[in-house]
């Protein structure tokens, strides 16, 4: 037994730093930089070499199939064939691009790429074969790729599709390097907000495990305030056994660390203490009686990407090379350079295809673990989190508690007041310490929490206010940020208001809609679903219902959804049919926009019926897919998706349907049972009471 003496009670802000590298961690975290793409940076994205065009993809590929979409733009603008352009992923030797988030890849990157391609095309036509082409921005009307035709609006075989179906090496964990070890940082089973570190462990027992390759007790890789113990093995399966044999005793902070299970967020309790600090819409508060008054509560929810995050790190001649599935290679580089006291040029991050992002791969976690272990071992190290680590060490969609009140006058909503208490999203607690969040909260709110609170309806007086409360479980961006929960609240209330007004939910919404594109998706989805017809027939003991919802994502993409549901004691709560209409302007690849709609509809089913993490004592206690289920094939009904295509500038599709899918499903359950779903995920007993 190996014992070391530490300062073991570390409450009250006293932190025990020890071991090499302690000085490398400063109090101020590295923050992602987000330069907007322009034609200066876009020059590095496309080049012509030996008769082939090489598109250096300025985005991370994580299933949105942006490699395919941007290749279509490039081919169209260069006016060359599909096989004339080869797609390569970027690495951090390219000029910095912002993280791949927010459904921005077409809306922000298509035009700079098209400008670069058009300049390159013209230079080649003029006979230029060497050097760097100056990109002079031309009017968008002159860009071939911003008009439907040829490859724009087509559906070629997806880039890397063939490699995926053949099982070729694409993901970070697929990287294999001779001499590579397998690593893990084993951490205390306590809240990441509580300081913790290994106090004692059984090294003799661990080293007797076949495959044991070493320990790194002083690895000092923080995750929140958790400092674990590094384990190295020659085979991945040995890691679990070594962890068990280590039988680590942990030193953990005392209760002054505020990590006791904090009370669940409760909007009414918050409102009782006064108005909420941040405004998404600044109308007057609604006082006095109102016709609609709804409370909604949502729990923590995991991203649950199928790929547990993974990284392979190798130190080569003082340079750190990192293969990882990340949404922001440049942030990972900056973070690791800072952590190891290196110039950024000494860290090369090679982002791999990401096995599902949904906001979860925006920080530096597993990369820091692999880099520290590889440095210690003097050999390449692969780290892939276990599923339990994904749930217990990752950050999650924050819980949120909403109260929305609406006043109805002359058949219309005259006053709207939405109050929400949640936790930080963009200023994620996984990246920002409490003191920084507190400072930010004094100056501004968290726009991620506010996303979706801005109602798309014409109402005279609208107020939307919110507050972010740091949670002992880390919270951060999750597909659509606040839009899923907020739009679920908005669409629940507008539906309830239609009932009070005695109006059809489509007609009632249309009375409040001034935006013709929103009206168009709503009317179209009502049309294709036969929404105005009779509700689906119910079997004995079954209730069925149909619900509708619509919305606008980030002021530029439109969606409307109709859901049909079935409720019965025998079969529980089921979504039986979904229709969706989506408008993101000019569509580069209709099939892949439909794919994003389908994915968001499955996420909508999850949000309403399944998503919810268990936690206790400030820590997620869900450790597998039984504790935290995601939709499976049997949960997903037939889906019909239609796109409204136009010449409007292409916006985005990766998250849009989160504004309408959950609302439509919740409204369908309301229609089926007469009970307004208010606590999510919805349980059968809540509706059949």
């Amino acid at each position: 037994m190996r014992r070391r003496t530490f300062l073991s009670a570390v409450g009250g802000g006293l932190v025990a730093f020890f071991g090499a590298g302690a000085a490398l961690w400063s109090q101020v975290p590295v923050v992602p930089k987000s330069p907007e793409p322009d034609s200066d940076t876009s020059r590095g994205w496309i080049r012509f070499h030996d008769g082939t065009f090489i598109l250096k993809l300025p985005r991370i590929e994580m299933g949105q199939n942006i490699a395919t979409g941007l290749k279509q733009i490039a081919c169209a603008e260069l006016q060359v064939g599909w096989d004339d352009v080869t797609v390569e992923f970027h690495d951090t030797r390219m000029e910095r691009v912002k993280s791949t988030v927010g459904s921005e890849s077409v809306s922000h990157f298509a035009e700079p790429l098209a400008q670069a391609c058009s300049a390159l095309r013209d230079a080649l036509r003029e006979g230029l074969r060497d050097g760097v082409v100056t990109v002079a921005n031309r009017p968008i009307e002159e860009l071939v790729s911003f008009r439907k035709g040829a490859l724009v609006g087509s559906e070629p075989e997806i880039v890397q599709g063939r490699e995926i179906v053949r099982g070729e090496s694409l993901f970070a964990a697929d990287v294999r390097i001779p001499g590579m070890l397998y690593g893990r940082i084993h951490r205390a089973p306590v809240s990441l907000e509580m300081s913790s570190f290994p106090r004692s462990w059984n090294e003799a027992g661990a080293s007797a495990v076949p495959g044991f390759a070493g320990l790194f007790p002083d690895c000092n890789v923080l995750l929140g305030r958790s400092r674990g113990i590094g384990i190295l093995a020659t085979r991945p399966g040995a890691l679990d056994r070594i962890e068990t044999e280590l039988a680590v005793e942990w030193s953990t902070g005392d209760r002054r660390d505020d990590t006791e299970s904090s009370p669940a967020l409760d909007i009414d309790r918050e409102l009782a203490t006064g108005p909420l600090p941040h405004l998404a819409m600044d109308g007057d508060p609604l006082t006095g009686d109102c016709e609609v008054d709804i409370r909604l509560d949502l729990p923590f929810a995991a991203h649950a990407a199928m790929e547990p995050r993974a990284a392979v790190c190798e130190w080569r001649d003082g340079q750190l090379i990192v293969w990882t599935g990340t949404q922001d290679a440049f942030y990972v580089r900056d973070f690791l350079a800072h952590a190891h006291g290196l110039e950024t040029e000494k860290v090369l991050v090679k982002p791999c295809r990401v096995g599902g992002g949904f906001g979860s791969r925006t920080l530096c976690t597993v990369e820091a673990e692999a880099a520290a272990l590889a440095r210690h071992a003097g050999r390449p190290v692969k780290v892939q989190w276990t599923r339990a680590q994904e749930f217990t060490q990752g950050f999650h969609r924050p819980p949120s508690s909403h109260r929305v009140r609406g006043k109805i006058s002359d058949g219309k909503i005259s006053h709207w007041d939405h109050n929400q208490v949640s936790s930080h999203i963009i200023f994620t607690s996984a990246g920002f310490p409490a003191w920084m969040q507190g400072t930010i909260d004094l100056v501004t709110g968290d726009p991620g929490v506010a996303r979706g609170m801005k109602v798309p309806y014409g109402i005279d007086e609208v107020r939307a206010a919110y507050k972010s409360v740091r949670q002992p479980v880390h919270t951060g961006p999750w597909r659509g940020l606040g839009a899923g929960p907020n739009c679920l609240a908005v669409e629940s209330v507008i539906d309830e208001a239609a009932l009070v007004a005695g109006e059809n939910p489509v007609a009632f919404r249309l009375k409040h809609i001034g935006d013709t594109r929103l009206a168009a998706v709503l009317e179209r989805v009502a049309g294709i679903s036969g929404f105005h017809g009779a509700a689906p027939e119910a079997m004995s003991g079954e209730r069925t219902g149909r619900g509708i919802a619509c919305g606008i994502y980030k002021d530029k993409s439109y969606a409307a959804v109709v859901a049909e549901v079935s409720v019965s004691a025998e079969n529980g709560l089921r979504v039986t049919r979904l229709w969706c209409v989506h408008d993101c302007g000019l569509v580069i690849n209709p099939d892949q926009v439909r794919a994003q709609c389908e994915g968001n509809l499955v996420w909508s089913i999850g949000l309403v019926l399944l998503d919810g993490l268990q936690s206790a004592n400030g820590r997620v206690t869900s450790i597998d897919f039984l504790d935290a289920p995601v939709p499976s094939i049997v949960d997903v009904p037939p889906i019909s998706t239609e796109l409204i295509e136009s010449d409007n500038r292409p916006s985005g599709a990766g998250e849009t349907v989160m504004v309408a899918g959950p609302g439509a499903i919740a409204n369908a359950f309301r229609a089926a049972t007469g009970v307004r779903p208010s606590r999510f995920p919805v349980q059968l007993e809540d509706l059949l009471r």
């Binding site: 299933g63 599709g161 053949r166 964990a173 085979r235 991945p236 790929e307 295809r353 499976s632």
Partner: protein, 151 residues
């Protein structure tokens, strides 16, 4: 110990005998198409076919492999000639992130070999244990139907 891997007779080194089949495939044989998703047999990303049946390789012990025939995603195509299920997958543009897809395809191949003309319920029963967080389920159904026709 010996077994058959994608039609070839292979031996397993002694020091890998306490590993899971998944780790053996990925880290010893370098067949990285089979994925680690949960390590508990709950998600299906690690599905391979053993003696004709779909099996979760993450909970299959190497010590149980003597004499069996294991097929992985890498063994489906014949050179550049894709297996009909792989072709159907591409033609239907099933993959989004792609991480679960090898497991999905192996479950689909096993299904179609046992039941060349599966109905909706057969597909649900066979594919229920293969999770896809991107939500490609609608296309998985379409691709299986398409492959069934082609086969």
């Amino acid at each position: 110990m010996n077994f058959t891997l994608n039609g070839e007779y292979r031996s397993i080194p002694e020091d890998w005998s306490d590993e899971s089949l998944l780790h053996l495939l990925r880290e010893h044989f370098g067949l990285v198409g089979t994925k680690f998703g949960c390590g508990l047999g709950q998600c299906g990303a690690c599905t391979v076919i053993i003696d004709g049946a779909p099996v979760r390789s993450c909970i299959t012990e190497v010590s149980s492999l003597a004499g069996v025939e294991v097929r992985t995603i890498e063994g489906l195509a014949n050179g550049d000639q894709l297996h009909p299920v792989q072709s159907a997958w591409l033609e239907t543009s099933v993959p989004q992130c792609g991480y679960c897809q090898a497991g999905q395809i192996m479950s689909a191949v096993a299904l179609l070999e046992m039941n060349p003309n599966p109905g909706d319920h057969d597909i649900s029963a066979a594919m229920d244990g293969n999770l896809c967080r991107c939500g490609t389920y609608r296309r998985i159904r379409m691709a299986i139907a398409r492959a069934a026709e082609a086969m």
